[in-house]
Amino acid sequence: MIEILSNAALATVQDLGRLGSLRFGVGTAGAMDDLALAAGNLLLGNEAGAAGIEIPVFPFKVRFTDDCAFALTGADCGARLDATPLLPWWSHQARAGQVLTLGLPQGAQRASRALLCLPGGVDVPEVLGSRSTQMRGAFGGHEGRALRKGDVLRAAEPERACRTGFGLVPPAVALPLEIGGLIALRVLPGAEYLGFDAASRDAFWASEWRITAQSDRYGYRLAGEVLQPLAPMELRSHGIVPGVIQVPHNGQPIIQMRDAQPSGGYPKFGAVIEADLWRLGQAPIGSRIRFIETRWEEAVAALEQKEAWLAKVARMVALHRSAPMEIAA
């Protein structure tokens, strides 16, 4: 069991998303960095899609009220268990009474969210097939809302023996993608792409885009070149998914994120490919990003590469859990 000690942290319980209820107006929600969630779960021997806690604001503190294994992935936040510094992308063992503190994301990384995983996943009820928090409508996750000081959460399998004390090479190192030191995201052009003038299209790919402070789990509002349509576009409402890049009348793109509406009507310049959504989910507020034009075949291959990395993680962790190597004098 863990007790939340922090307030106003915007932390939520998320799994890989609520799939299959789009036709009722229910978006997917889910972890902004789905790769970090899956990896953290695999470190503990969980199903990759078990529910974890996504932490976007720091400092963040929890107390373990029982002995508990846990994994921390995503942003390296100089985490400490009581006074002991913890390695990032690692599994650990907490004793009852210990306090886990996450500080500000540190170092040269461009990451902004941490994922905390527990044995068996966070034990909250499944709603419409998922344990992700649905903020609009207030259901799923922990009582359909962000976590508050005093909330108590349980691991689904607290008794399960977990080998801990090992970790992973972070995917930002294993699967790098950047241009000029900035996070880069592959984009497939969308239905209204050619409805924008050539100068705007060129500028979209060539320039840097700043993630403004008006950005959150619903959408990332970008600042940069004003994208001009050839003629005003008024569209019928249609389904959309996380990653879709809309351009409203002011010409500044909004990337729909995990809590976005499952439908919309603004022109669609393109969509960040599914394989790169985790990179986008980590991009900090105020940071600048670049876009890379891609094609269907490359985008599908990128998704397979991401899935192959997770499969490798699962295999290696299983090997280590069954035949651990001890390395000490």
Binding site: S237, V241, G243, Y266
Partner: protein, 223 residues
Amino acid sequence: MTSSTAGSAPTVSLLGTTALLFEAPGAMALDSQQRIWALAHEAAGWPEVREAVPGMNNLMLSFVHPPRALDALKARLDAAWEAVAPLTREGRVVELPVRYGGASGPHMADVVAHTGLSVEQIVELHSAPLYPVYALGSHPGYCYLGGMDPRLATPRRKVPVLSIPGGAVSIGGAQTGVSASAGPSGWNTIGSTTMAFFDPARNPPATLQPGDRIRFLVEGIEP
């Protein structure tokens, strides 16, 4: 104004690798929407498709896994559209009392300014039709309605509003709808009603479904 559906052939476009979007050609119409419902029913059973999500004379197909043979799927979709017969369904009628204008309709003035109609004319035109539910989307339980009088059409707002309340009755472009819960919106709110549109514990969780109809009753016009 250009529409992406100008022309006589349907268009298929990509939403990243997560889904594709099929848009029916021609004017927004109920019989087109009935064919979309039929197409959704058929495509929902295809192995590549996780979910078929009708929109306003369009259909989003989310993928289980992005198919390598994308062109083959597109061809199958086009062929199915040609072959499909409208799925007629006359569902139930739900009547919603609406308080129009004033604090309940903070963007009524923008609709007046764009359409050139008076508040009374707007209320009369808005409350006259029996609106079919074309699709659900936007947020849990929200219904996209067809059949709004084109004289009421008002473009979506330049900058979306950060939060409008549940029960807000709004106009966006040529469409109208009622918010099922509080949240951001780019539409113009002209009134307010009360109704429980969604219960996640129920099966299905949404109160209304495509084919049901809504009528707005004028409870009052606020100054």
